[in-house]
């Protein structure tokens, strides 16, 4: 199959249940309405969408592949990296489109955060979530990585609330850059909202780490055994 057919294949297979897309549409609608009434409120819509993307991007490849759903695409394929990369693209596409709608609405309403949502730190937050949720959920059932990520964030908030505090993350230490990066990878939500400026190097490193993890999963997919698992 060519690239268009591969993308169409995954789109036809409904990687996202219809109700999740309805929730996404509702979030985008609420976000646009909020931004139109107060352009400085763009971040509330972006935050909700980022949360939804944690679940949307976690579409789960391996479970469905081992049920044989992707057999027509993968049987006899030269390599799996291309089809698996398209699985990622189709998995994250609804969230990215919703994000672009929100950011575009914010831009035309004169929101000061709109540019950052398209090309800056906020866009990096979307990329980090899109890459990590998909990569972490690669071998899990649909949405499982999103649930696990929320559980981790909840645990951190309960147990070590200071870890997610920007002031703590920015505290001076020999490992500051590494700590910033790790903090942003675990909680990209820090890139949305009015937090003290995070080091651009840390934002870049967090996005790069996510990209590297994504590439590792894509590369590893070539060596996976797609034996058949009975859906029962």
């Amino acid at each position: 199959m060519n690239h268009v057919a591969t993308a169409r294949f995954f789109a036809t297979l409904s990687l996202h249940p219809p109700y999740t897309l309805l929730i996404l549409v509702a979030i985008v609608g609420i976000g646009i309405w909020t931004t139109s009434t107060s352009p400085s409120e763009l971040d509330s819509g972006l935050g909700m969408l980022l949360f939804a993307q944690m679940f949307l991007a976690s579409s789960g490849f391996l479970v469905r592949a081992r049920r044989g759903h992707f057999d027509p695409l993968l049987a006899g394929a030269d390599n799996r990296t291309g089809p698996v990369a398209w699985h990622w693209v189709v998995s994250v596409a609804p969230g990215v489109v919703g994000w672009m709608c929100l950011a575009g609405a914010g831009y035309f309403q004169g929101s000061p955060m709109a540019v950052s949502a398209l090309v800056g730190g906020r866009a990096a937050a979307l990329f980090i979530v899109s890459a990590l949720a998909w990569a972490a959920g690669f071998g899990l059932t649909r949405g499982a990585a999103g649930v696990a990520w929320v559980a981790v964030l909840f645990g951190l908030l309960i147990g070590r609330a200071d870890l997610l505090s920007p002031s703590s993350a920015l505290a001076a230490s020999g490992w500051t850059g590494l700590r910033h990066t790790a903090t942003l990878v675990v909680c990209p939500f820090l890139l949305i909202g009015s937090h003290p400026a995070l080091a651009p190097e840390a934002i870049f490193a967090a996005a790069l780490s996510s990209a590297v993890l994504l590439l590792i999963v894509l590369r590893l997919s070539d060596g996976l055994d797609l034996y058949l698992v009975d859906r029962a």
């Binding site: 036809t12 044989g68 759903h69 057999d71 993968l74 049987a75 394929a77 034996y227 058949l228």
Partner: protein, 212 residues
Amino acid sequence: MKTRLELAAVTKAFGRRQVLNQAWLQVRSGETVGLIGANGAGKTTLLRIAAGLVLPDGGSVRWSSMLDERRARIRYYGGEMTLPLSVPIRRWTSLFDVAIDDRRRLGQLSRGTRQLVGLRVLLSGTEADLVLLDEPWEGLDPEWSAWLTREVRRWRAGGAAVLISSHRLHDLDTVCTRYLLLEDGRCQSVTDRDLRPRVDQLMHAVTRRGRA
């Protein structure tokens, strides 16, 4: 006749269970090979290795194409259980340029009808070097069984190599040029006179188990 699929000394284990142990197999252009064996013998694993979906632990798998410059074009069907149940039939078949005007979801069909939809999609068109079918007659009524037989013959006549796993010897008999028995992780040719009684015994046991 050119060899389209060659498995050489293939081994595969899942945990401690050795499924394939030095399995050798060749399928040439224009022939249909029937793969038979008891339940759990490793037929599906062997077919998925032949399709490149499962990687062998040892040995090698080689494919060749009618078009020398490209990798073999493989069509593999693992049975109706591999179809995505939530997808509407019309959308699924249109992916493969097959027109079936049915708005129901695949999951709303009976097993036999779903099997038929999967086979119609797989066997549409004419381009393939290797066709791999896992229990294709399962659930089909006599009319569609006859259709499947005709389709397999058409593919073979077109120069494709066909490998079919099935328990239904009478159906295999209508299309196969030779048979392989998969037992103890190895493929044995059943043209060998010594193996024929073993195949009869095995098939009798499988049939009895199915009725029980």
